[in-house]
């Protein structure tokens, strides 16, 4: 997976397919509002870069959208869906907000921490999992406790169910 090519001097150029995907978003805004595509652009670049952003990639996005690099850093650091350091392949978010907390969300998180051997906010040494720091509400109160792995929801969790989900994921991963 790649999002860009090295250009030397710490600069990278976005790949053709990445630019095409960003262009698709740029087209949805008025021409003088090219910068509005920054959120989509970062998500696309992160996706093609194995789940995280680097400064050269953010700079490339800034150049492509014709905005100051610091404006891109602001966005990238603001949203918890965007990562600015290398993290594991599978992003796990466990909700510990009110509804989930009342239904055992904290226990789910503790179980995951035990199984993966990392604390929330850390990645497993094999690079397979990234257990995100406490997310705010996942908007899945009806199925509490809930978690999200790579944008897929898993609800009404118990520690056993969590194990099943991860076992399956590891089987599929090979």
């Amino acid at each position: 997976m790649s999002a860009a090519q090295e250009q030397g001097g710490g600069r990278v150029a976005l790949d053709e397919k990445v630019r095409a995907e960003i262009d698709d978003w740029v087209r949805r805004y008025p021409p003088e509002r090219r910068r509005s595509a920054v959120l989509a652009a970062l998500r696309i670049v992160q996706h093609h870069n194995g789940g995280y952003l680097t400064v050269p990639l953010m700079d490339a996005v800034a150049e492509y959208l014709d905005i100051e690099p610091v404006s891109v850093y602001e966005v990238a650091t603001f949203y918890s869906m965007l990562e600015t350091r290398p993290v594991g392949r599978h992003h796990i978010s466990v909700c510990t907000n009110v509804s989930c907390m009342l239904r055992g969300g904290e226990e789910i998180l503790a179980h995951l921490e035990r199984r993966l051997g990392v604390k929330a906010g850390e990645s497993t040494p094999d690079g397979r999992y990234y257990l995100k720091r406490e997310e705010e509400c996942l908007a899945a109160c009806c199925g509490a406790p809930a978690m999200q792995i790579d944008h897929v929801y898993y609800e009404n969790l118990t520690p056993e169910k969590v194990d099943e989900i991860l076992d399956r994921l590891e089987r599929d991963d090979g």
Partner: protein, 790 residues
């Protein structure tokens, strides 16, 4: 429908304009509402919440900075509900603010400290740990203590909205939010120091001033900044006679509330190690300290000897364009009193062919605030952003409003406004391009074409891009043609000046002439030019211009505040002329190494902030100031030195008691003089061809002796040394590799320079900065250059 509404604040009925924010109306009527993030020059952020006020019928307190007035609105700024909201905000702001006021530079002039006194609780209820934020290193000018930051984002908005370079941003969110560059780098804006004033707390403070004094110990004096044609109004803060810092003094007509870094931090050069503190006299080959009486007597006696032996025209007087009006007037009076017409302040000018046709004094051709409202501009040889930072800001405002801005430059300078037309070409190409623009106007204008201009335009062919520029100027309700420092340095300045004059007149635009110096206009008015006396009257006798004085050497030189090895158009010629002169009298605050080699008499002068005087800015505004600090050692104001020198030379009318008297005399001369009405028959045109042209612009922090000595400014990324900066295509053609050191030859001089690839430079040109280390040994700022060894 009327645009006016009536509102009531704290029971006072007030008239307001529709769309105004409550806080603006309150401010206009002296009703103080506490605030941190609101600033009249910045967009409304409404993120500090300190300006919450009670508005009748509104369920919750509203931020006064973001609440537009409505007819009949009743507002309470001090009601129990408003005060409770303001106090609650203050309590939140103080949660994470450290209690380090005793070691904070902002202490005593801190908005948070001041407002905490009125709105804070005696004892904090916050028992948890406060957050700590490591501050980024923003370079030599701005110190950071980001733990103190209250996230008002004024500094972020300043960069984005005013300076036009967003370098600081708010990274992270919530409690983790911090103001930073994210990727560490020193601030590159020429206006970065303004964030120090904007910061309401001690998060961003002045690095050079750090821990040097407490605000309440300082004495505040009014002054005028000495580096560009804006004449920014400043406050000079002194402690025991020494300048501790310089801050802006609001003046909407001049600098608004801003100050360029050059004007703000140059004072750091005042007490440089080579400051002259006692008069020096060359005795038996070496400079020796002496007393004033002897130094002045010897200076006068030696001058008299030179005049007696070689005639008065053997004396040349070179003065700084940043000297005061009074100094300039006395210098020309002294030269002409001796019988010499050789006086000039235009050390960086390359051609004087348009002199007879010049107006009374160079300037903007309009009032400074009017520059914000032009619809089109043509910059000729001008990096206005760095040469005249605050005029650059005004033009940026016009550009952001949609003004069509064209540039005709040898280097594609990076501007902070949109550039509609770019003509980037070598120095002879600039003359041809301007002639082409003029040729297009000839076809569209009824205005008679002056003969000299007709000669220039003849044969010029206007291509589409030239016609587009002419069209933009013609169509504009208000246009301006700016002749910048690079135009003045051209060996064909005369041609550029005549063409620009015609282009402006034919298109109905104003002509703005912006040479270097804080007082170029004053120098013209004072008669510090070889062909005009005070007020612009024809000079008797006429003499040599600055370039001729150094190329056809004089026997004796009187230098006032200039360092020819850095300030002259042709430093090599200057070094030759001064090295061989029989007499060099240097009146200056500092004595450079080169000056030490050639001075026979060195007279220590008071510098910026130490002398009274007057600068005339680009507006034609006479701005007088008093001395604020004590000159070190025995240094004395230059006008007094010139007065005594004039008296010792038995010249008439040097018995002034104070500068006011000099000013009055000059003003009378200016009022009595007729408007100059000379014409030029023909000017020099580019004939020589060269495979490589040197373009020697002067970097922002190399323009004068004071700036060059300011260490903090010299440590910024904007301070650069001489190198051979060429476009990649030029490098390929000449076989130059980036990073290589090569020998260059110019006009019989040589220097070794590093090759730097720079896409901004026009093809066929090499940007070799003037006024900086590495190019002192070279010849003309603009002229043919040869690479001798790769």
């Amino acid at each position: 429908m009327s645009d006016e509404v009536t509102i009531e604040i704290d029971g006072r009925p007030l008239k307001a304009r529709k769309g105004q924010m409550l806080i603006e109306v309150a401010d206009a009527h002296g009703i103080r509402i506490p605030r941190f993030c609101y600033h009249p020059k910045l967009s409304v952020a409404a993120n500090c919440r300190m300006c919450l006020v009670e508005v009748e019928k509104a369920p919750k307190p509203l931020p006064a900075c973001a609440t537009p007035v409505a007819d009949g609105m009743k507002v309470y700024t001090r009601s129990p509900k408003a005060l409770a909201a303001q106090k609650a905000t203050m309590e939140f702001l103080l949660i994470n603010h450290p209690l380090d006021c005793p070691i904070c530079d902002q202490g005593g002039e801190c908005q948070l400290q001041d407002l905490a006194l009125g709105y804070g609780r005696d004892v904090s209820r916050f028992a948890e740990r406060k957050r700590v934020v490591a501050g980024p290193d923003l370079g030599p000018l701005v110190a950071t203590d980001m733990t103190r930051c209250i996230h008002c984002t004024r500094c972020v908005r300043f960069g984005e909205e005013i300076a036009g370079v967003k370098e600081l941003g708010a990274v992270g969110r919530g409690e983790h939010m911090r103001i930073t560059t994210y990727v560490a780098h020193a601030l590159r804006s020429e206006l970065s120091g303004n964030v120090i004033d904007l910061c309401p707390v001690g998060a961003l403070t002045s690095k050079p001033f750090r821990f040097r004094a407490r605000p309440w110990e300082l004495i505040q004096h009014e002054g005028i900044a000495p580096h560009d044609a804006v004449g920014s109004n400043v406050h000079i803060h002194t402690l025991r006679g020494r300048v501790m810092r310089v801050v802006p003094h609001d003046n909407e007509e001049v600098n608004e509330t801003w100050l360029s870094d050059r004007d703000r931090f140059s004072y750091e050069g005042l007490y440089a190690p080579d400051r002259l503190e006692r008069p020096l006299l060359r005795e038996g080959g070496a400079l020796q300290e002496t007393d004033w009486a002897l130094a002045l007597e010897r200076a006068a006696a030696r001058l008299r000897e030179v005049v007696a032996a070689h005639g008065p025209e053997a004396v040349g007087v070179l003065v700084s364009p940043s000297a005061t009006l009074e100094e300039l007037y006395l210098a020309q009076k002294l030269a002409r009193g001796l019988g010499s017409g050789n006086i000039d302040h235009r050390l960086r000018q390359g051609d004087f062919g348009a002199d007879p046709a010049m107006g009374c004094a160079p300037g903007l051709g309009m009032r400074i605030p009017e520059l914000e409202r032009v619809d089109a501009a043509l910059l000729v040889g001008s990096d206005i952003r760095r040469d005249q930072p605050l005029l650059g800001l005004r033009l940026r405002k016009a550009g952001m409003r949609g003004a069509e801005i064209a540039v005709l430059n040898p280097v594609d300078y990076e501007f902070h406004f949109p550039v509609a037309h770019r003509l980037i070409t070598d120095p002879p190409g600039m003359v041809r391009a301007l002639a082409a623009i003029a040729a297009d106007l000839v076809r569209h204008s009824e205005l008679p074409v002056p003969p000299a201009v007709a000669g220039l335009v003849e044969g010029a062919r206007a291509e589409e891009r030239h016609a587009a520029v002419a069209h933009a100027l013609r169509r504009a309700g208000r246009g301006v043609v700016v002749l910048g420092a690079q135009a003045h340095a051209s060996p064909w300045f005369g041609a550029l000046r005549l063409l620009a004059g015609y282009v402006a007149a034919a298109s109905g635009a104003a002509l703005a002439e912006l040479p270097f110096g804080a007082n170029a206009a004053g120098a013209w008015l004072a008669g510090a030019v070889p062909h005009r006396g005070p007020g612009g009257a024809p000079a008797q006798p006429a003499g040599l211009d600055a370039r001729a004085m150094l190329e056809r050497p004089c026997r004796a030189y009187l230098l006032l505040g200039v360092e020819p090895e850095r300030d002259a158009w042709n430093p090599a010629a200057a070094a030759r002329a001064l090295g061989e002169a029989e007499l060099v009298i240097q009146i200056a605050p500092w004595l450079s190494e080169a000056g030490r080699r050639w001075a026979h008499v060195a007279l220590p002068a008071a510098a910026f902030a130490e002398t009274s005087g007057t600068f005339v800015n680009a507006d034609g505004r006479w701005q007088s100031f008093e001395g604020a600090a004590r000159p070190p050692g025995e240094a004395r104001p230059a006008w007094k030195i010139l007065r005594v020198l004039g008296t010792l030379l038995d010249l008439e009318g040097f018995g002034y008691e104070d500068p006011e008297e000099i000013r009055r005399e000059l003003r009378a001369a200016v009022e009595a003089a007729p408007e100059p009405a000379g014409t030029v028959a023909a000017v020099a045109l580019p004939e020589t061809t060269a495979s490589l042209w040197r373009v020697g612009d002067v970097p922002i922090y190399a323009v004068d002796a004071l700036v060059r000595r300011s260490r903090p400014l010299q440590e910024t990324p904007l301070a650069v040394e001489a190198a051979l900066r060429v476009a990649p295509a030029t490098a390929t053609r000449l076989g130059l590799a980036a990073g290589a050191r090569v020998r260059v030859r110019q006009d019989g001089t040589q220097a070794e320079l590093e090759v730097v690839l720079d896409r901004r430079v026009a093809e066929g040109c090499a940007l070799v900065h003037a006024g900086v280390a590495g190019s002192e040994g070279l010849g003309p700022a603009v002229g043919p250059l040869e690479v001798v060894a790769g």
